[in-house]
């Protein structure tokens, strides 16, 4: 493919975590694609990994990630910290994360506004948090602890949710704004999650995106969802990461770009992994939209 006409951050030379992800599209790194990426060096803006998959001693995962990291900017995305958890952060896990970040010096580290464990049980899902003064304090304390331990700021991802809590006293966007303000962390704007959650809770996704601070967005995620129905027959979208990005999400992405400007954008696919070229084509589509929906002053 031709080089995109975008302000592309240089990624040659020794990677440093002082730098940021390039304003380009990236792809989630999957073992199915390791060989092809190393052998063909596709023109991709960056790769993103799930931290927990690489918390192993050695073998092919580290072999390929080491080679890929030498050639590309890297984002490390955690799914297991359980920042919204009631119980304290797992310090052993935090140490493993710090070790992984030291080893690969990613341009970005991000985690979720969700909980994934309780006590010593890990649930392998991103579970919802009520939005109250008490949970706000806990989430901020956990993010402070993570940022202090890792000696860097993180990005927090807005969640995809299927239920809400009667106990919530503030809107999700209000909660996120307050977390960003108090902790100084950045925002990973998951546009698919916005679309999924707003559909599921009957809100306007454009209002949702406008309610977030566009200047705090350090990365965007795009993914596919599955369509189901709730008990009343109203649409219930599932953040499945198992299908191509929906047209409605591309449109919402274009809308987000008008507000945020060009920003590192990840194509996420974690289930029914297609050939690499399919994801590469979605990355090219994202870069096309980045060029089309970015005002001249933002590029300048």
């Amino acid at each position: 493919m031709s080089t995109p006409h975008l302000p592309v951050s240089p990624h040659c030379g020794a990677p440093s975590h002082d730098s940021t992800l390039p304003t380009r599209a990236g792809v989630g790194l999957k073992p199915e694609h390791f060989r092809q990426i190393v052998e063909t060096r596709p023109d991709i803006g960056f790769f993103e990994i799930h931290a927990e998959n690489y918390m192993v001693d050695g073998g092919p995962f580290h072999h390929y990630l080491t080679r890929i990291r030498e050639q590309y900017p890297l984002s490390i995305h955690g799914v297991g910290l359980s920042i919204g958890g009631e119980t304290p952060l797992d310090l052993k896990h935090l140490d493993q994360l710090a070790h992984l970040i030291d080893r690969y010096a990613p341009e970005s580290f991000s985690e979720h506004l969700a909980w994934a464990s309780h006590g010593d049980v890990f649930l392998n899902d991103l579970l919802p948090v009520p939005y109250t003064a008490q949970t706000l304090q806990r989430v901020c304390d956990h993010i402070d602890q993570v940022q202090t331990h890792l000696k860097r700021t993180m990005l927090l991802e807005n969640p995809a949710t299927y239920i809400e809590f009667a106990a919530s006293t503030m809107a999700e966007t209000e909660f996120i704004n307050e977390v960003l303000r108090r902790t100084g962390c950045g925002l990973l704007l998951d546009v698919n999650n916005v679309y999924v959650s707003c559909t599921n809770h009957h809100r306007d996704p454009h209002d949702y995106i406008r309610a977030l601070p566009s200047s705090a967005v350090g990365e965007i995620h795009l993914a596919g969802f599955a369509r189901e129905q709730d008990a009343n027959g109203d649409p219930l979208l599932i953040d499945s990461h198992g299908s191509p990005i929906a047209q409605a999400v591309w449109q919402l992405y274009a809308y987000s770009l008008e507000l945020v400007g060009p920003v590192a954008t990840l194509i996420e696919r974690d289930n029914d992994i297609p050939r690499f070229n399919v994801l590469h084509a979605e990355a090219q589509q994202a870069e096309l939209l980045m060029r089309e929906h970015t005002s001249l002053e933002q590029v300048a």
Partner: protein, 254 residues
Amino acid sequence: MSGHQAFVAALFDADLPHPAGLSTWNGSDPAARFAVYRNNVIVSLVDALADTYPVTQELVGEAFFRAMARLYIGEAPPHSRVLAFYGASFPDFIEQFPPAASVPYLADVARLEMLRVEAYHAADTSALSAEVIAQALANADSLPQQLITFHPSLRLLQSRYAVVSLWAAHQGITEISTIDPVIAESALVVRPHLDVEIIHLNHGAGDFVSQLTHRKTLGEALEHSSEIQPDFDLAGILGLLIQSQAIVSMNIKE
């Protein structure tokens, strides 16, 4: 019970009502929406087990495997955020699972599959070169006192069943109809570089490797294995260990 404790209990037990305090914009029953979380948790963990145990799944069929996995997950949810090794106790569960009793070798095939995952993700180390090993073995006086350290990926499974042949049949390497599953086989699992190798060892060779992994000297291991298998082939197993790059150091016992 804390909010999350009740939430977790309801995730793992579909007979429990959904946790209190859930709301929906349209007043619909939150149970249908809570079921999404329940499904995400259980299905993702069943999928994790299916990734680790593909041959086990083929042996009993997908429906049986997934039903068995669900019961296991209820008893033994993950305690680590690193799911690569989730299900290490699944073979023991299978061994005690009455509906699986008609496939007596199932638990050992599952054990072999978990050892394969362990080897895949084990630490990387260079093997000792064949020349250095040959030099160490050439000294007849010190030979019996040699202690061998294996590659961090090396695993051994001594089974009463034909685990290696069964595993190979499901890779399309051998024809399943030719396998007698009740013939004992040992499996040597090692990953010298990127690919995990699963190598069939006979009873004596399996015993020899087991002795060495328990820090017995070459002399002690040889004596033990020769008693177990009178025609024990020392040169054969040493050659195989060298060829598979399983040896990372040799030291003379003080």
